[in-house]
């Protein structure tokens, strides 16, 4: 198991800076997801770790050793590419073993390792086939087999599941995760799909425009988004955001709806955020009323769309709700679950409950 350390890593092409200083340590044996919209620099980041792209400035350490100038093959890593990069003219077996000779393995050892990897991934029946005779999922497995057969302690994956259909993707997600645990790999996994990152990663890093937005466990990013970008990227549907003004009674949206978030701040304007699933049907207390603009009944849940200060908000109610467009609904939101972001979009930490109680006692 190897750890990877990035120290103020930057990358620029000519004048344009695409990675603006990244500091992060990826622990040994950790499943680390790199997430972000396309063009955010996550693939570039991965390719710099792999050694396929030069590092403009900063230090990359693999297990504490500076690795900036090491060749890709000297970094003890394997990589799975988005398009799998299989050799089309070679059989599956040849694809898996090609390159093992560089590790000083005999033909017999290569075969043994190949069989082992093929067995792990259920490829034993396909060893004599060419990649074009395989389905997408099988090709994906060959690419995985090629990565694990090297027994490298670090594995890099660049959107490996994006060419698969939804059902297969869900299956491969858990397979990759199990494989990583079983082989105790240090995994860096690039994806633009936040669901993949949320379900697979021990920790994840959200990048936007070459800058780190937040690093942490998936649920931290979900529950305490560091800024409005994280809030709107993580979660499906994403967090509802709307600009609000401070007033005597609380925070007011532009259409006059009032909120009482559990947050102390000196700001006068802010952005208020509520996750769709935290907007619940009101039982006693009503936070606001909304007129339905759209309804999607998905079986296990119902997605309701309504207007909130000029912005479309979504609410996710569990179960099937026989509502119709134009109907007025009463919604409740727990004040503790309301997030507030300052004018720069950064999260305003809510009041600590303990301090809050203590203050009340003094009053």
């Amino acid at each position: 198991m190897k750890s990877i350390q990035l120290q103020n890593i930057k990358k620029s092409y000519d004048e344009t800076e695409v990675i603006r200083g990244i500091d992060v340590t990826i622990e040994a044996g950790e499943f680390f997801a790199l997430v972000g919209p396309s063009g955010c620099g996550k693939s570039t980041m991965l390719r710099m770790i792999a050694g396929l792209e030069s590092i403009t400035s900063g230090t990359l350490r693999i297990d504490g050793v500076a690795a900036n100038d090491l060749k890709p093959s000297e970094r003890q890593l394997s990589m799975v590419f988005q398009n799998y990069a299989l050799y089309p003219h070679m059989t599956v077996e040849k694809n898996i073993t090609f390159g093992l000779h560089t590790k000083g393995l005999t033909k017999l050892e290569q075969r043994e390792r190949c069989m082992e990897a093929a067995e792990t991934l259920g490829l034993t029946d396909y060893l004599k086939r060419k990649p074009r005779e395989l389905s997408g999922g099988q090709r994906q497995r060959v690419a995985l087999a090629r990565a694990i057969v090297t027994e490298s302690p670090i594995c890099l994956m660049d959107e490996p599941l994006s060419n698969l259909d939804a059902k297969l993707r869900a299956k491969m997600r858990s397979e990759i995760r199990q494989l990583q645990r079983k082989l105790k790999l240090t995994m860096i996994y690039v994806t633009h799909d936040q669901v993949e990152a949320m379900t697979m990663a021990d920790r994840m890093m959200l990048l936007n425009d070459g800058e780190v937005q937040q690093v942490g466990q998936p649920l931290d990013l979900y529950n305490k988004p560091a800024n409005t970008f994280v809030a709107s990227f993580i979660g499906s549907p994403p967090m509802n955001l709307t600009p609000v003004q401070r007033s005597d009674k609380g925070w007011v949206a532009s259409d006059g709806r009032l909120f009482h978030p559990n947050t102390l701040t000196r700001e006068d304007t802010a952005t208020l955020g509520i996750r769709p699933e935290q907007i619940t049907p009101a039982k006693e207390d009503v936070t606001f009323y909304a007129e339905l603009k759209n309804i999607e009944v998905l079986g296990t849940e119902t997605i309701l769309a309504f207007d909130m200060g000029g912005v479309e908000w979504l609410a996710k109610w569990p179960g099937q709700w026989p509502l119709s467009i134009g109907e007025k609904i009463a919604c409740y939101v727990d004040p503790k679950q309301i997030s507030l972001f300052d004018t720069n979009g950064n999260r305003i930490e809510p009041r600590q409950p303990k301090l809050f109680e203590a203050l009340e006692v003094f009053q």
């Binding site: 396929l52 060749k71 890593l77 990589m79 990069a85 089309p88």
Partner: protein
């Protein structure tokens, strides 16, 4: 629909006849005796193979054929090896001025080969390569067209394949040999056929750098046969021509099969 087909086939047949007529006529002349040729017969009345015997007797045709074969094969191998290596460098290796050098490469395609003939001749002469297969072949080894053709093909190979091999620690040459060449069979065959045929049909350069019977190639032999006789014995000349065409036709058929295989493979995938 059927009218269209009829017109299409009529045109195809017409062009096939026009294209094939010289070869067919040459073949038929090669089977006539002298008097019949002069009568202007299209088809020989008495088929005779005397012309073929005569062709071998009058000029050292076998030596010429052998020379041509050796030179054409040398040039073919030389061009394929150098072009593929150069194309590999242009596609997979990063170096300063890559674009500029490639532009220069392409620019040499604009210079007619005849324009460089004199300096090439002087080089060959000072190397002492006159009347040798080296003098006939080496000047053609570097081929900008071949480099261009293969570069275009190599560019279609996903770059990730190269990166994957780098991560696996596979050497560049091994990647070139075990991956790039096998997946580029079709253009390699095309280039080989092209090189072989151009060299086989080369006339001007062999005329310049060879002056002995031991070194000459077939195309010179034909010309020699035609002009040595006061009244050309067309039957013999055509017999020699037919003999010379055979290797090129063989190559074309062999290559065509390979080409078709390569093309369908790509299409079905």
């Amino acid at each position: 629909m059927t009218l269209r087909k009829i017109i299409t086939y009529a045109l195809l047949i017409l062009s096939a006849v026009i294209l094939l007529f010289p070869i067919a006529y040459a073949f038929s002349i090669s089977l006539m005796d002298g008097s019949e040729v002069l009568k202007g017969n299209l088809i020989p009345r008495d088929v005779t193979f005397d012309n073929y015997v005569a062709a071998f007797e009058r000029i050292p045709l076998l030596t010429y054929l052998w020379n041509s074969l050796v030179v054409a094969l040398l040039v073919m191998v030389g061009q394929v090896v150098l072009s593929s290596l150069a194309a590999f460098a242009f596609v997979f290796i990063d170096f300063k001025g890559k674009g500029l050098i490639f532009m220069l490469f392409l620019a040499t395609m604009m210079v007619p080969w005849e324009a460089t003939m004199v300096p090439n001749f002087l080089t060959i002469q000072s190397l002492g390569w006159l009347n040798s297969v080296w003098g006939l072949s080496v000047p053609f080894f570097a081929l900008a067209f071949g480099t261009f053709l293969l570069r275009q093909q190599f560019k279609t190979i996903p770059y990730e394949m190269y990166e994957a091999s780098q991560i696996a620690g596979i050497s560049r040459f091994r990647f070139f040999w075990n991956v790039v060449l096998p997946v580029s069979k079709t253009p390699l065959v095309t280039l080989s056929v092209y090189s072989f045929l151009t060299t086989w049909n080369m006339y001007l350069w062999p005329l310049l750098v060879t002056n002995t019977e031991q070194a000459r190639t077939v195309q010179i032999g034909i010309k020699q046969m035609q002009s040595n006789e006061v009244a050309s014995d067309w039957g013999v000349v055509m017999a020699a021509v037919i003999l010379i065409i055979i290797p090129t036709l063989l190559l074309l058929f062999a290559g065509q099969k390979q080409l078709q295989e390569g093309l369908t493979q790509g299409a079905i995938k």
